[in-house]
Each structure stands twice: as C-alpha cells, then as structure tokens.
C-alpha cells in the first residue's frame, strides 16, 4: 500500500502517532504549493465477500435487497478512496433508496402502464404491428432516462463526503435531459464526429453545477478539448474505410480479370482479398481507441476541473486500463462460462443418480436413456433448475465484474489522482444537506444503472 503521506515526503517518524494522515500535515509550503496524493485502501477478498453475500441476498429476496446491496458496495468503494489519506464517505441509506424507488414507481406506473397500452393500441390499429409501439415507448423514455441519470448523480454527490464536508449537485435535470437529447441528435447526424463535443458539453454542464461544501467546482477548457483523445478511434475508422474501399476494388479487379459474376462458385479462401488483412489491424486498434478515448478523455476533463484555487491532477495510464479491461473481461467470461459447464455436468450427474443406472459415461445408450428421462422430469423441476442456473450465472458475472474490472479500474484512477493547492481546502465550510428525496429512484426504476 502506498504511503498516504508520501507526497509530502515526511512522516515516517510520525507514522505511529495517530496524526499522520497527509491532510493533517501542517507544512511550511504555502497552501498553493501543497500537493496531496490519493491512496487506495481496500482489498479484493473483502470486496469479493461483500459482492457474494449481497448478491445472494438480492436473489433470495427477488431483488428487494438490492437497495441494501448497493449501499453496502458503495460504502466500501467510497471509503477505499483516500485523497490526502482521508477516506471518502458514502452516507446514503438503503431506506431512502427504497423510498425513492417507491416514489418513482408511483409516478412511472401510470406513465408506463397507460402510455404503453395506448401506444400499443395505436400501433396495432394503424399499422397492424407492434414494432412502432416498442420504438415509440423507448423513444419516449430517452429524455426521462437522461433526467434520471442526472438525478442519480445528484443523489450520489449529496451523499458523498470528504473531510466531513458534503458534496452537492445543483438541480438541473431537465436542462441536462434537453441538452443530452440535442447533442445526441447532433452526434448521430455527424456519424459520431460530434461525440467529443457532446461529452465535454455534458460534463461541463454537470461539473459546473457541482459543489464541495461552500465552493463551486469549475470546469474549464473549450468545446473541442476532447478531440485529442478521439484520435485513435478516428484513425482506426479511417483505416477500416480504406480497407473496405481496397477490398471492393480488388474484388472488382478480380471479377474483371476472370470475368466472374457469381462469387459463390469460388472458394472463400481463394478470393479473400489481401486488403482484408488490414481489418486485423484496424479492429483491435478501434477497441484500443475506445479505451484511449475513455481514459485520456477523462484525464483531460478532470485536469481542467478545479475547486477554487485547488486543482485536480489526474495521471491515469492508458496501458494500465487496457490491461485491466482485457484481463478483467477474460476472467469474468471464463468464470461465467465455467460455472455454466459445471452446472451442466452436475445436472447430468443428478440425472444419472436419479436413473440409478450405473456410470453415466460408460455406456452411451445409458446416457441417452438418462437424457430422455431428464426430458420427462416435472416442469417445476426444470424451471427451478433453470432459474438456479440463471441466477448463479448472474451472481458470478456480477462478482467478477466488481472484483476484477470495476475495483482495479477505480483503484488505478484513485491512486493516480493528485490534488494541487490542497492547502486552500481548509477554508471550505459545510453546505446544507440536500434531501434529494428521490434518491436515484427513477434511475433505479428505469434501470439506468450507475457503474456500481
């Protein structure tokens, strides 16, 4: 573990005295020259345990426990992050989440029930098919979805504290939803080229409405700030377009040369154009570009984020996040698929035991008999078994996502974050509690799903 006070380069003598956190050090520097690092304190095993038992309880309670599960998980993540050695604190309660969810249900039940029904009716009456209704229902939910995202973030900020001081996000969810919709239209119209502008504009909208205690956060930088982060996506797409054009030309040339009009007569391997090999480079490059855009984009954004005279200095490394993403995904897929296969083997063994007819794998005929027997099992049994598998897979997937993907990512972002001009923070005073009564309830009801 990183020494929390290392950035001040002192402290070993004070390690044991109870007053040694970086943020408690008086320095001879001016407040502007004080820099704090951020440490991470939380181990994988404990998170695994929390994710496991909250997941099991969520399943056993048909999802009802999820408010408690989410609270517990957030408390863990928040308190693992320690800017200046002082842990963040998540103060949200499961009861308020439940309450917010219930409020959202009261309102959305009417919207979704009636609107669904009317749209379905209109769709069947006018077009004699349901697709229009599905599309319209989804489209109608888009602004609400953005609204819910903003409200959920407001709730998260209102329930986050550091140094005993609350964060906050001003109301502004409908403004956010409107801007998000407009920017998405622009992004779609420009085939994605507008995305960095949208990302910046929406982040600025949120960041400029955030507070730490009595100080407002401030996002600087221009609308085009994030284009440097977009570069690899652009290049990879350009390469894909180039490859497509070349492939097309090769095929045309080939067709002219041999006067072939029907390609099905030719084996694929014979005709695979050399230019198609460019995709072998372009596709992984594009995937790398996505991660690069995410990481560097965040770094550029946060580097321009300040609280008064205090400035954030993020230094996340793309390579590290690439490694975490690749390994994390590999592990969670392997784990989930393994559970699936282990489940099938257990099922076969269970069937064999049921049939009580010798070794399953010795005689194929016996196995087929057993499979036939399995097909005759009562329906409730197969349904229960299916449900068990479904939930087991869901559980393993969730746990591995937390332990090998989200946690290492957060840890990297946290431990590479420095706070410059940290001395000014002491002037910040407490802000009033934002009841934020809805507590992310709409987000919960619509399954907007924050990262955690």
């Amino acid at each position: 573990m990183q020494d929390p006070s290392s950035t001040n380069g002192s402290a070993s003598a004070q390690e044991r005295d109870g007053w040694h956190l970086a943020a408690s050090h008086a320095t001879t520097h001016s407040p502007s020259d004080t820099t704090w690092g951020t440490s991470w304190s939380g181990d994988r095993g404990k998170l695994f345990g929390i994710a496991l038992w909250t997941g099991v309880l969520t399943i056993l309670t048909l999802g009802f426990y999820r408010f408690w599960a989410r609270t517990r998980i957030r408390q863990w993540y928040w308190s693992a992050i320690r800017p200046g050695g002082v842990p963040l604190e998540y103060t949200g309660s499961p009861y308020e989440k439940l309450l917010g969810f219930l409020v959202a249900v009261v309102i959305l039940a009417f919207y979704i029930g009636i609107v669904n029904l009317l749209l379905m009716f209109a769709s069947f009456s006018l077009l004699a098919q349901p697709q229009l209704a599905y599309a319209l229902t989804l489209l109608g939910l888009v602004p609400i979805w953005f609204y819910a995202t903003y409200r959920a973030e407001r709730y998260l900020m209102a329930r986050t504290r550091w140094m005993g001081i609350r964060f906050g996000l001003e109301p502004g969810a409908w403004g956010y939803a409107l801007r998000a919709c407009l920017h998405w239209v622009l992004t779609i119209v420009t085939l994605g080229l507008w995305h960095p502008c949208m990302r910046f504009a929406l982040a600025r909208y949120r960041h400029n409405r955030m507070w730490f205690g009595t100080k407002r956060l401030s996002q600087s930088g221009g609308l085009f700030l994030l284009y440097p982060a977009f570069i690899h996506i652009l290049l990879a797409v350009a390469l894909m377009i180039l490859a497509s054009v070349l492939v097309r030309e090769e095929i045309m040339a080939l067709a002219n040369e041999f006067d072939i009009t029907e390609f099905e007569n030719v084996a694929l391997s014979d005709t695979l154009p050399t230019a198609a090999r460019l995709f072998v480079v372009a596709i992984p490059w594009f995937l790398f570009g996505l991660i690069y855009y995410s990481v560097v984009g965040r770094r550029l954004l946060v580097a321009q984020l300040s609280v008064g005279e205090t400035q954030l200095d993020p230094q996340p490394r793309v390579g590290r996040i690439v490694l975490i993403t690749v390994l994390g995904n590999l592990l969670r897929y392997v784990a989930t698929v393994s559970v699936f296969f282990v489940g099938i083997v257990i099922l076969l063994i269970a069937v064999a035991t049921l049939a009580a007819s010798g070794n399953l794998f010795d005689e194929p005929e016996v196995m087929f008999e057993n499979l036939e027997l399995a097909a005759q099992l009562p329906q409730w049994f197969t349904i229960a078994l299916g449900a068990l598998f479904y939930f087991l897979v869901f559980l393993i997937w969730n746990i591995f996502t937390h332990v090998f993907l989200i946690m290492p990512t957060w840890k990297h972002y946290a431990s590479t974050l420095r706070i410059k001009g940290a001395g000014h923070i002491t002037q910040i005073r407490q802000r009033a509690r934002d009841d934020s009564e809805e507590a992310g309830g709409f987000a919960e009801a619509l399954d907007v799903g924050a990262a955690i």
């Binding site: 956190l21 029930g113 029904l117």
Partner: protein
C-alpha cells in the same frame, strides 16, 4: 505517548485522533481521553491554539495540558462506527446524535481501546423517516394495484371494442408467436403447428357444420399446436388454438366441437383482445417493479396468463351461452362440454387447470344443468363430423401435410 493527568481522575486512556467537526474542511488534531465518571470520550486540541491555516512546522509540539473545554465530548455508549469501511487502518467514528462530526483513529492501540470501550460501536445508526417509507410504500402498492386491476382493464376493455379487425389479427399473431416460443421446451424452435391435410379438412368440416353462415366480420383461424397440454384458448383476431393433448383426450368429436364453440364465443365477444391489451399494460408496470432482474420470468408468467385466460364469470357465461346455442342449432348435444370436463376431472384430477377454469366457476352446476336442459329436445344427433374425419383430426399432428 505522553502521560497527562487532569484533575483528580487518572485517565487510563490517552490517544490521538483526527477530528472532523463537520463545519470546516480541516482535520483537527485532538488528544483523546476517556472521562470515567461520565463515560465520555473527549478530544482536546493541543496548544497552542493557532488560528488560521497553515499551522506551524512539521515537528509536532508535545501534547500540552489541554486548554479548558474539549473540542468534543462523546458519550461512549452513543459512539458508532461509520459503516462499511474498506480499510482497517483508519477507524472512522461518529456520534448517533450528530450526522456530520467524525473522528478518525489511525493507530491500532487507539482503535483497540475504542472497540472495547464503546459498547455499541457495531450497532447501526438509527433509521429516520420510517413513517414516510410506509406511506410511500403503501402508495406504490396502491398505484400499481390500481393500474393493474382497475385502470388498465378499464382502458383495455374500451380499446378492445374499437380495435379494428386487422389490428386484432396482428395482435393475435404476435401473441401466438410468443406462446409458441414460451411453450417450447427444447429451446430450439417454437412449438410446431399441426398441419396434416386430412386433419385440417376435418377441422374445416367441423367449422362449417357449427357455423354454416359464417361469423359476420370475424374470420376464424384455427391452429392445432403439437403440445401435450390438455387445453384450448382463443386469441385476438379470431384465432382459436387447440392443443394436441385436448384432441387426444376427447372421446368424441362432439366434445372437441363443444370446446371449440366455447372458444369462438370468446372470440365473438372480443375477450382475448381485452386480455391481451391488459397484459401489454401490465407487463410494463410489473417490469418496473422487479427491474430486469426477473424480466424473462415475468413474460413467461404473462403468456401463461394468456393461455389460462382468466376471463370474468360474465365472459364465461356468455361464451357458454354462445356455445350452447351454436351446438343446438347444429343439432349436437350441448351437454358435450359438460360431460367432457366432468370426465376429465374424474380421470385426471385437474388437467393443466383447464377443467378448473370451467368447473371451478360457482355457476357451473347451473351451467351444466342449463346445457342438459337445452339438449333434451334433441331427438337424434348426428356427430359433428364423420368418423373418418374424426380419426383424421386425431392424427393431425402425426400426419405430414
């Protein structure tokens, strides 16, 4: 650790903590003591009281005797651990009665003392606002119930009467597809429809015998599903579905005809459209409650509901009346329906809930009686279809089209 004495009481515990007063973003160094007489934990800021940040140099001044007045004084019994802390090297404490103040302990010794002395450390902080939780909980349950049991059915009933035929047909076909997928147990393809040519011809013969003049603007489509369930149901747009299990279980073609006529009764009264529209509304609302957590299971449940077709008693009576009238007009004993289900109940208990759906109605005895009364004037009855057609119908799933 510096030993400090205050007054006459000898402090056994002397620790150091970092205090967050919940008012300013500043860690305040405090020397900790426990006052044994009052059972409180007190934090004293070391002298000199140095106003304004930044404080002086890095080397800590020795802990001086505290200035009068502690920075805080917490009853030991009211101290709680801040829940869910990830790292164990910092223990964050709070007071039940104060939501913002925090005390951080960073040395193992100090943490140990507090863990032993503050007896309620592990209890959760009190939950506030339980009343509001109850109110909104009830409101949520009430609004969902109101939607599912009152508003959606009301709206669905009215919309069902104005939904044009083409719309009903499309709705019925969509639902039939869903049902075929839901009933499938192989996981490969939807349940097959049985299309044996001779069997189809027998079905057409039955339809023509029962409804020689057609059904007005309703165009019937009869499907047989290759499934062992003893069941039959109607879908929007004139779709009637008979399961293979039902045809195999019936002893005579008249019994199949009776069930068929009953389902057509539902079609005529647009009952399936009501139910389908109701399901469409309810799926959204129920999905909202459970989240995507049980989305699949929910759909399955609702398709089941469509098959079980939990119509109102009035709708059943109307379908019965229609079936009885149809059978009598065609010269077929109207009690076939009653005898079929009585026999099913006797032989199988409750086959797939279908008999129950008919028999559990409180008015069933009167319905059977009514059916039997109506049948009495019938002198001789010619079976609804020929014996040859009946055997073709029984083989409709075995025969290749």
């Amino acid at each position: 650790m510096t030993m400090v004495r205050v007054g006459a009481v000898r402090d056994r515990f002397e620790g150091r903590g970092l205090f967050l007063d919940g008012e300013g973003a500043e860690l305040r160094k405090v020397a900790l003591r426990i006052d044994e007489t009052s059972g409180t934990l007190m934090g004293f800021e070391p002298a000199p009281p140095d106003p304004g940040p930044p404080t002086t140099g890095d080397d800590l001044p020795p802990v001086n005797p505290p200035q009068p007045g502690p920075a805080f004084s917490w009853p030991l019994d009211d101290i709680r651990r801040v829940p869910g802390q990830a790292g164990e090297d910092v223990l964050a404490l709070r007071l039940t009665s104060n939501a913002t103040q925090r005390l951080l302990l960073t040395t193992p010794g100090d943490r140990h003392v507090l863990q032993t002395r503050a007896s309620h450390l592990w209890q959760p902080a009190p939950v506030t606002g339980k009343a509001r939780l109850a109110i909104w909980g009830s409101a949520a349950v009430a609004s969902v119930a109101l939607m599912i049991f009152v508003l959606i059915p009301l709206l669905a009933n009215n919309l069902a009467t104005v939904l044009p035929a083409s719309g009903q047909r499309a709705l019925g076909e969509t639902v039939l597809e869903d049902i075929r997928v839901a009933l499938d147990r192989t996981g490969v393809s939807p349940v097959a429809t049985c299309d044996g040519a001779a069997g189809r011809a027998a079905l057409t013969a039955m339809e023509e015998r029962l409804f020689p003049d057609g059904l007005g603007d309703v165009e019937l489509s009869v499907f047989v599903l290759d499934h062992p369930m003893i069941n039959a149901f109607a879908l929007p747009g004139g779709i009637v579905v008979l399961m293979r299990g039902l045809i195999e279980e019936a002893e005579t073609a008249d019994e199949v005809a009776a069930v068929f006529a009953h389902e057509v009764g539902h079609v005529i009264n647009r009952d399936p459209s009501r139910i389908a529209l109701r399901s469409v509304g309810s799926v959204g609302v129920l999905g909202l409650l459970f989240g995507d957590f049980a989305g699949g299971a929910l759909l399955l449940f609702l398709t089941n509901q469509m098959i079980a077709a939990d119509y109102s008693q009035e709708a059943e009576a109307n379908a019965d009346a229609f079936a009885t009238a149809t059978l009598q007009e065609a010269g077929i004993p109207a009690e076939a329906l009653a005898t079929f289900f009585e026999r099913l109940l006797a032989q199988h208990g409750d086959p797939d809930g279908l008999a129950a759906q008919f028999l559990a109605h409180p008015s069933l005895s009167t319905r059977i009686a009514a059916a039997r009364e109506g049948a009495e004037d019938l002198q001789s009855s010619e079976p609804v279809i020929t014996a040859q057609d009946w055997s073709a119908l029984r083989n409709i799933c075995a025969e290749t089209p």
